[in-house]
Every structure is written in structure tokens, then in C-alpha cells.
């Protein structure tokens, strides 16, 4: 396979994966929700690509994912997803490059950390808060299960994205 072909396949699979995640997240009819837990698929894709793509690629990819998400998400405000995705992707790519080894365990840790940071920020900036009791209930009853669910999906996607990068990514 030539370098050009590899690049074409890489961007094709990336676009396809993003499209599938986007449609599953925002189709309005079918959702992956289990009880109160709902995964943030776009975040999972963002974290996984950040683990392999390097800083600049991750940030640009996060920018595109963020814009897509902000265009469709009704539960967040303004550019929230774009900003959080950029920060998280930069943090994840730097952690993988300078602190952790890029393996299954770091995929799990970064999946949980990334999702936790996202849902905490979302709670702070986007979730309407009526009382302390409701806020605690929201964090424990909705955010926490969603963090775990998103982390599990991130872990699954980690292997898929790893294969895409291994076979088709050319720096």
C-alpha cells in the first residue's frame, strides 16, 4: 500500500467512525442510554484519537468534533464542547507522549479521567441547578453512570482506533 493510499484510508475510516458516533449520539430516535447513563460517543472518539495522533492533529480533530457536537447538541451551551474537547485532547495527547505509556491501562485511566472532567465541566457550566439535593442527585445518578459508560466505550474504541493508526497513519 502506498503512502497516499494509506492516507486516504486513514481519513476515510476516521470520517466513517466519526459519522457513526455522531449519528448514534444525535439521531433522536435510537440511543445507547441504559437507565440514566448515556455515553458521550464524540468524547470517546476524541480521547482515542488524541492518544495516537500527537498534539496538533488531536487539537485540530477535536476542533472539528467540537463544532459538529455543538451544532447538534441541545443539552450544552455555545462552544462548550469545542473548548472542552480541545483542552482534553491536548491534555490526553501530552500525557500519552510525556507521562504514560500508550497501552490498555492508560486507555482505561484516560477514558475515565477524560469523561469525568467532561461531565464535571458540563455539570458546572451547562446543567441547570435548582437545589443542592438535586445537584448531588444529578452528579451521582446521571453524571457518574455516564462517566463509567463513556469510559467503557472509550476503552472499546481504543483498540479500533489503535488498529486504524497502526495500519494507515503516516506522519
Amino acid at each position: 500500500m502506498t503512502v497516499k493510499q494509506k492516507k486516504v484510508y486513514f481519513y476515510l475510516y476516521t470520517a466513517l467512525l466519526t459519522l457513526v458516533a455522531f449519528i448514534l449520539q444525535y439521531n433522536g430516535v435510537f440511543s445507547l442510554k441504559i437507565g440514566t447513563a448515556s455515553p458521550m460517543l464524540m468524547l470517546s472518539v476524541c480521547i482515542c484519537y488524541s492518544m495516537f495522533g500527537g498534539e496538533l492533529f488531536s487539537v485540530i480533530f477535536a476542533l472539528c468534533l467540537g463544532f459538529l457536537t455543538d451544532g447538534a447538541a441541545s443539552g450544552t451551551k455555545g462552544f462548550f464542547n469545542t473548548i472542552v474537547f480541545i483542552v482534553l485532547s491536548l491534555a490526553v495527547s501530552m500525557i500519552v507522549l510525556y507521562l504514560f505509556n500508550n497501552n490498555f491501562r492508560s486507555g482505561l485511566v484516560l477514558g475515565i479521567l477524560g469523561s469525568a472532567v467532561y461531565y464535571i465541566l458540563r455539570f458546572i457550566f451547562c446543567v441547570p441547578k435548582s437545589s443542592l439535593q438535586n445537584s448531588v442527585s444529578y452528579l451521582l445518578g446521571t453524571s457518574m453512570p455516564s462517566v463509567i459508560y463513556t469510559a467503557i466505550i472509550t476503552l472499546g474504541l481504543y483498540f479500533l482506533v489503535k488498529q486504524i493508526f497502526k495500519r494507515y497513519y503516516v506522519r
Binding site: 430516535v29 448515556s38 451544532g71 441541545s74 443539552g75 480541545i86 435548582s130
Partner: protein, 288 residues
């Protein structure tokens, strides 16, 4: 890592981040419309989301009809026994008929409110991880939609528009604590304020607060908008499911089941204009 912070890559990343933050701040201050980036992607992806909703809807219907065949045989036997019970219920139906008459009167909103300018819209995406049921519709400011326009369905009040793009808008529902809406009881004229609450949103209910202690509101009463704030008067909201006393401040509250089934909405109407619109701009917590 030290080299990375001095590199050109890092400068590009910081520039991108700064650009997004500046845009977010500018459009956050302007507030009225969805950000251009989000709006552009929202416009581009709206057909994809609409198409995927159609496909998933068809698949759901197909599986639904397969299940239906098996159910039919079981239901046949059950129905025979139910016929006898139904005869008894015919008598009760007379009283329900009266209620329906009242309900129909309110459904004829357009006839009752000739001042309403309505725009039909369809749901293009729903945030599955938002428990308050917010969603995006396929109409934006190109169709005359503005921020804080009320959104209704054929059943009753749904919510209001919170962000407007060129061809899409975000709708916050009456289940959200972001909403603060004046409500009147149709039967007793007791007034209160509708505020969504986390613990009720999961059940699809919202909360009526600020009721006076000697109010005579009862289970089954219909609630309608009082006309204060951004919502026009007389739109049906829902029925009173329970009435209780707050354990912290002993005020009276009621749980309201909205007439509009927010979790399964497909089409809605946006009230783009009505008599008295713009007179009062406060009516939602997010509007200050």
C-alpha cells in the same frame, strides 16, 4: 516537554484555542444566536441527522410490527375478558367525554388565538444524555424563529427556544429547571410557577411551586399558562398528578404531568408572534 512549549505546534494550538474562546465570549455576550461555527455545522449536518432519524425510526417500526404479531394472539384472549369490563366503563366514559370537550377547546389554539403566528418544525436531533429532554428543531432564524419563542405541540406546551441558528434551533423543555413559567389552574384559577426538577424530569414530570397555602388545587386539575413572561396566555401545560407540602418550608407544591409527551415528540409548533410578545422579556432563568 520543554521543547514542545517552545515549538511552532504549541503556538498553533494556543492560537486555535484562543480563537475559539474569543468567539465563544463574543457570541456568548451577543447571546441571541447560535455561534457561527456551531450553526454552520448544525446546518450542514441537519440533513444527516434527519435522515438517520428516519432510518432508525423505520427500523424501530419494523421491529415493532414483528413484535406486534406475537402480541396480537395474546391480546385477543385478553381483549375478550376486557370487553365485560369495558361495558362498565362506558358509564364512566360520559364524564371523560366532558373532560375531552374542555380539552378540545384548548387544543383549538389557533381558533382561540388568531393572533398566534405559528411555524411548524420537526425534531432533528435529541441529546440522549440530557435528562431534561432538550432537542434541536429544523427551523432557525431563516424561518423567523427567535430566542425565547414558545414551543408547543398539538397536546400542549413543550418549552421555549434557547439558541437559534440559520436553519436549526435548540429547545429547552418545561422539564428543565431553567424554565420559570407562570401557570394557572383552569378550574380554580390558583396560580403558581412551573420549575423543572431533576428528581421529576426522569419521570417526565415538572413541578408547580409558589402555590398559596389555602389553594384548592386537586389531582386531575388542568394547568394553563398565565400569560406572564415569554409565554402567551391560555396554553395547556399538563395535569396535576400529586399535591404535597414541601418538607423544608411547608409551602404547597404540585407535580405536573405535561400533556405533551416530551420524550417521543416528532413535530412541534413554534409561536413566532402573539399579542403582547416582547412586552415582558423575563420569564426564564436563562433570559436575565
Amino acid at each position: 516537554m520543554r521543547f514542545f512549549f517552545r515549538s511552532r505546534q504549541f503556538k498553533i494550538i494556543i492560537s486555535i484555542f484562543a480563537g475559539v474562546v474569543v468567539l465563544a465570549v463574543i457570541f456568548g455576550i451577543m447571546g441571541a444566536r447560535m455561534e457561527p461555527g456551531a450553526s454552520l455545522f448544525g446546518t450542514i449536518t441537519a440533513p444527516i441527522r434527519e435522515a438517520s432519524s428516519e432510518v432508525f425510526g423505520s427500523i424501530k417500526d419494523l421491529f415493532g410490527s414483528m413484535k406486534e404479531n406475537n402480541k396480537l394472539l395474546l391480546e385477543k384472549a385478553e381483549l375478550e375478558s376486557e370487553v365485560n369490563e369495558l361495558r362498565k366503563e362506558v358509564a364512566e366514559a360520559e364524564s371523560v367525554k366532558e373532560q375531552n370537550k374542555l380539552y378540545k377547546e384548548f387544543l383549538g389554539l389557533k381558533d382561540e388565538h388568531p393572533d398566534f403566528e405559528l411555524t411548524e418544525a420537526y425534531l432533528v436531533s435529541r441529546d440522549s444524555d440530557d435528562i431534561y429532554g432538550s432537542f434541536v428543531i429544523n427551523r432557525g432564524y431563516a424561518s423567523g424563529i427567535h430566542k425565547y419563542d414558545p414551543v408547543i405541540s398539538s397536546a400542549g406546551l413543550v418549552g421555549f427556544v434557547t439558541e437559534v441558528g440559520v436553519t436549526t434551533s435548540k429547545v429547552t423543555t418545561i422539564l428543565s429547571p431553567d424554565i420559570s413559567l407562570g401557570a394557572l389552574c383552569v378550574r380554580t384559577s390558583d396560580s403558581g410557577i412551573i420549575n423543572g426538577e431533576y428528581s421529576l424530569a426522569d419521570k417526565g414530570f415538572t413541578k408547580l411551586t409558589n402555590l398559596s397555602r389555602n389553594c384548592s388545587i386537586a389531582v386531575g386539575d388542568y394547568m394553563k399558562t398565565s400569560g406572564e413572561g415569554i409565554f402567551p396566555e391560555g396554553i395547556l401545560i399538563g395535569t396535576v398528578e400529586t399535591v404535597g407540602t414541601d418538607k423544608y418550608n411547608s409551602s404547597v407544591y404540585a407535580e405536573i404531568k405535561p400533556f405533551a409527551d416530551i420524550s417521543s415528540l416528532k413535530g412541534v409548533m413554534v409561536i413566532t408572534n402573539f399579542n403582547g410578545k416582547g412586552g415582558v422579556t423575563v420569564g426564564t432563568k436563562g433570559s436575565e
